[in-house]
Amino acid sequence: MQSKFRALSGALIMAAAAATSAPALADGEVNIYSYRQPFLIQPLIDAFAAETGVKANVIFASKGLGERIAAEGENSPADVLLTVDIGRLDGAKQLGITQPVSSDIVNENIPAQYRDPEGHWIGLTNRARIIYASRDRVDQDSITYEELADPKWKGRICTRSGQHVYTIGLIASMVAHHGEEKTEEWLAGVRDNLARKPAGNDRAQVKAINAGECDISIGNTYYMGKMETNDKEPEQKEWAASVRILFPNAEDRGSHVNLAGVVLAKNAPNKDNAVKLIEFLTSPEAQRIYAETNFEYPVTPGVEVSERVSSWGELKPDALPLADIAKNRKTASELVDKVGFDNGPAS
């Protein structure tokens, strides 16, 4: 029996040894839970560290971080949660894992339309949901979202899953503009025009256009910049070169945009540093990094988009209030199921 205990305690010691970096609670650190991919936020973290000396610890996951913070409760090491889409920003507030940020710097940097009225979430950048069109096989220079249901696109459209937050956001904006019934009809039309079952991320759709599998795809703007400048995967430059960006509905209401932002965690152990980080992210300096390195649209007035981004054309953002999009997300998600969008074109 003794050796039994020895074996058990040995295993536990191993387990403890495997347990590395415990959450940082010391001064000079800030803990970030991020739905945004590490390569997107690393330049900002580096700049923040250079300016303030505060070291950032990061956990990245594409799903479930809000649930984790909620479960961790009072002792959660999370200071901030970086996320995309109004749905998730608002969702974090609903989950009760946020606390209001009251900072004059933030309020000065970020226009009121991009902040929660109570300060529970703060928008940082905008990304437009645009159309990637094949340079060889698409002639027209303008396009509308409504037009995607036109039979002339039959077998020519690629997109990611209808249940992805970006797609849901776009469909929710269609519901807000046209009502549920019209949107359902439209969504079924788009489904019938798909070249393949929705799969992969926004880049995979451009890859498919390059290969000739489809002619247009729906995607976020910054992927264009990320592909054009990808020295590690040079083939992605080729994908990017095969497409150009069309800003949908440029002549009427403007293109759908989705907001990326940050929330301050309710039980942030390093609250001072967290607020410092949030203030930094809204500063012109950080907004310039978002613009230049991540090719996103800064929300702080006076910070210009990068040259590369402006070379794609002028963005006219849809002025629909964020609350209207958030409100219609559930309907949008149900419509995706109802028309069987993710099952692809009816064959």
Binding site: T20, I59, A61, G155, I168, G212, S333
Partner: protein, 562 residues
Amino acid sequence: MLRTPSLTIIDRFWQFAALLIATLVLLPVLAIAWLAFEPTGDVWGHLFLTVLPGSLQTTILLMLGVGLSTGITGVVTAWLVTMCNFPGRRIMDWALLVPLAVPTYIVAFAYVEVLDYTGPVQSFIRSVFGFQTSRDYWFPEIRSLGGAIFVMGAVLYPYVYLTTRAGFLIQSASTLDVSRTLGASPYGLFFRIALPLVRPATAIGVSLALMECLNDIGAVTFFGVKTLTFSVYDIWLNRSSLGGAAQLALAMLVMVLLLLWMERFGRRKQRFDSGGGSKHRPPTRFDLTGPKAALALIVCAMPIFVGFVVPALLLADRASRRLDDLFSPGFLETIWNSFSLAAAAALLTVVISVSLAYSLRLNNSGPLRGAVRLASIGYAIPGTVLAIGILIPMARFDNFLDAHMEAWFGINTGLLLLGSGTGLVYAYVVRFLAVSYGQVEGGFGKITPHLDMAARTLGRNSAQTLTQIHLPILRPVLLSAALLSFVDCMKELPATILLRPFNFDTLATTVFEAASREAFEEAALPSLAIVLVGLIPVIYLARSSATSFRTKQSKRQTAAAA
């Protein structure tokens, strides 16, 4: 020293320990059951109409497909390597297990890379026939239910092969010889004698493969195949209904209990079968020559080619373009993280399996047996759901401990377990206990109770009997149980993503992050590392199971000669 009363105390201790462990392992499942009572909003009406019928159908078709494909591949190859002689048979004997080292999500990534519209196969077809777009010709879509069946079948058949091969090996050769003498043809022998006899062993293998298939989230998400597991994930994370997800997860557990029952049933029959066969000798193999031998070789080589060679070559090719990453400190640390976590979890899993199996051996009481059985259903819970089931009780424990330590001693413990790797090790143990427990329990089953009685009569207590008699006999079983758990832990993805500490990457999470931004090349090196590390135990296992069988035979022959 009085031995007699201390015996019962020790026995009681075993029972207590087993119940405690079973409770700890069951805790996440209970947490999920508790979560199922959370308000679910009004998702159900909508889901019943639109999502669930489809995902139920998809899941059943996927399981049928994977069951058939793993069943046929596993049985046919097992029959060929155990009952026929052909050139290359000895290599095939262990090489057929090799695809076990490739996780389903990696084989899925690899085949999309090969068979997708943009991949080499279709590009070649287009260049040969001069096609311009996908509308000019038809090619099966890999991101589909059929594709999922194909890739899962390709890497999961070794479960069936392993158990069925063992089944053929322990079949009494005399049974087969008698049938032959009575004029049975090789085919008649296979279909009418060997196959019915080996069916329980095959059922065990298929049920293991199906549990893996039911659990998969990486490959089905990547392929857009909406199974029940996918729906659990989707309801929880996209529709923000934790309660709804927990309810569906509980419903899925029913399916899993059915599979477990099937596995149990198989094992029971198997024990009965081998009970009478004490006079084993190697079955006489059919000598195959010419085209038949070539055919047998091809049939055995195909699954290895599809499940291992193609994906491994592709990964090696892509990884070779990124060899400088190999020496980056980040990558080495990632390997160490994966290794240490998996090793700790594997060790703990085996220790727990031994405790559970041994306490059942000492005291086969109803409640204990039930608890032990329930403790192995963790294998069937999708990793994501399990992660939530662990997150919640563990966070409560941490917060409870912190509050009391603070109040009594003024010590701030924070999230003691959750913030460390402990949560991960816990998740792995719960998830993979069934794998190791099955092995250990099987090992105990082969040790005759007479040994226990003899040891106890000679004055050893239950703990001494375990350490001095059972453990030495079980050593090879323990090793293979540890190795299997180790590989499974290395491969685990969804729970790792959700429960890992800060700045902490494992090989699996690195693959996931690279794949989530379509950077297949960057994913190649860590994928290859997972496959290679997984290969070591698989080969060891394959070789040792063959060797131990051979030594047993030669020992028997020696004994018979003497």
